[in-house]
Symmetry: C2
Subunit: 330 residues, 2 copies
């Protein structure tokens, strides 16, 4: 079924915009073929993940094309990082409304090009299609781990310490700002929080270094409590988070001083794209050293324990009620 | 941004419907993790491809869920087959309008389950999202080839014979039937043609056997002339097709007798999902034997030559004008 005619054909689109993104991947064959091959190594195996983003659901309609592109890629890079995999390549399925013209595509590709340099990945394939609906972007990313060493959610041990990288809750508060909230916060703090919502910083340097250290790991995308809940469920354990150990940015701390109720958004809001992992207590000094070497903050926030579910304990020792533990995709 | 609430959560959806599709793939971790690992082999490498299908663009809104599912998977399996790769696994990004409820999803999954058995593949990952737009399905499929042996478009040699599997044009004529045309054709012939449009039969048995035989290969999805044009362009050659050698099904032959002008639709219509390949003349008897062994019709339809572009020669030796060589994705 022929769809709307565009000023630029799919072949021109690929040749002009997407093929340059595939230049460094031999197996991508300049995107002139039906598939790509990926290298085979004796000591490593491939890890694959895919995330789809829909306009109005996962990003705002007026978000800049460059940011949408980078976010689409980065949420996948974050998954790979949390599995201990070094990202290498990705496929892009770009489903475009007629309103997204060539200049928009050029901006989108510019975003991808920037992130390819920053994260050392190449486009190796994908597809484009037109849609009468919203912009929809599916990225499938591939990374490598030492064979048999992929970090999983299910291997947490009772008594493991629980760690998280960076700070938690910024993206959730950024979304509050975008919706007109937190308007007494300074411009710099607002801008920082919105930036954390709009553009994840996947922990691609940290992730592969956690192989051999972490027992279980995942990235925080659904919200800290929900995601720790996933580790608990798959590991057959419970967990307790000490609320005052959860790392908070200065901007988030200011927001929380004004609106203490936002602590729920911080703990459950999602889109942090930090790595949540568990490790035996014997790894504490190794983890401290790693944080220093990589210059990535790593905070111990609690402990795994027998049982089920996540308990959040406030500074005064009482438990915090969490009604909706995190993002539901539907 | 929380979207519409469904009767079933994403986690239940995955556990109930999709996890069973991943049961046989150890690396899929029951779809309880953020990524999947795939096996590493010394003698083989992975081949990756991705295709996205949009309701109203690639399939009809009232097509049955089972067929949509199978088509989404099969167009990818066809790409892998044409690259000589044995399909092993796939990731599914399913973007669902609110109108597609749990019974629809159950039907969709039933279609995938059938094809997983038929083609020996497993679901290993993906994502689900809701959309205010049309149903959109992105599948990324992975297959294995002997290392360094992936079949490509660009290695046709001047003087290679050109072959195609099965029959050409059925899907294009099936679409004509669906649009109310060819109504004097018998019901059985109509049904056959529509079936060929709705449900591709990827040449998964043939494809891997062409490694070591074919110089260049691809599947026919944009239309025979356009796709041979891709082989010509990437190989830096031209090609001539002898029209009366192009294999036509009995149903298509009947349709062409009544409407000879439909020959253009047959040659350029697309959606055939047959394998188009070139091979040196010295392979002729090997190819004949292969067709017999596999019980897959393989027809020699022309020859590569120096130059550029695809010429179609009619039975009387005159050239056929082809205005629009094939499907434009936009």
């Amino acid at each position: 079924m022929p769809s709307k005619t565009r000023r630029i054909s799919e072949f021109e689109l690929i040749a002009r915009y997407f093929a340059p993104l595939a230049r460094e991947a031999a197996g991508a064959l300049d995107l002139k073929d039906d598939a790509a091959w990926i290298e085979s190594r004796a000591d490593a195996q491939w890890v694959v993940t895919s995330d789809v983003l829909v306009e109005g659901v996962h990003f705002l309609p007026d978000d800049p094309a460059e940011l949408i592109a980078r976010k689409s890629l980065r949420v996948n890079l974050s998954d790979l990082a949390a599995k201990g995999a070094a990202a290498k390549a990705y496929l892009l399925d770009l489903v475009l409304p007629a309103t997204h013209d060539e200049p928009w595509i050029a901006d989108f590709v510019r975003g991808l090009a920037k992130d390819q340099v920053e994260f050392g990945v190449s486009l190796i394939g994908g597809d484009t299609a037109s849609t009468p609906g919203p912009l929809t972007i599916a990225v499938t990313a591939l990374g490598q781990v030492p064979t048999g060493e992929m970090l999983v959610r299910s291997r947490a041990a009772a008594d493991d310490d629980i760690y998280v990288s960076g700070t938690i809750g910024d993206a959730a508060l950024g979304l509050v700002v975008l919706r007109g909230g937190l308007n007494r916060l300074g411009a710099a703090a607002q801008s920082y929080l919105v930036g954390r919502y709009r553009l994840p910083e996947p922990r691609t340097v940290l992730g592969p270094k956690l192989v051999g250290i972490a027992n279980a790991a995942m990235d925080v995308s659904d919200g800290l409590v929900a995601d720790l809940g996933h580790i608990c469920a798959t590991s057959g354990l419970g967990a307790v988070i000490e609320e005052d150990l959860v790392p908070i940015s200065p901007a988030a701390a200011t927001a929380l001083r004004e609106h203490p109720a936002l602590i729920t958004a911080v703990l459950t809001g999602g889109d942090d794209y930090e790595i949540l992992f568990t490790a035996p207590g014997t790894m504490a000094s190794t983890i401290l050293k790693l944080a220093q070497t990589l210059n990535v903050p790593l905070a111990r926030i609690g402990r795994m324990r027998p049982g089920a579910g996540v308990e959040v304990v406030k500074a005064d020792g009482s438990g915090r009620e969490i009604d909706t533990p995190g993002w539901q995709h539907f």
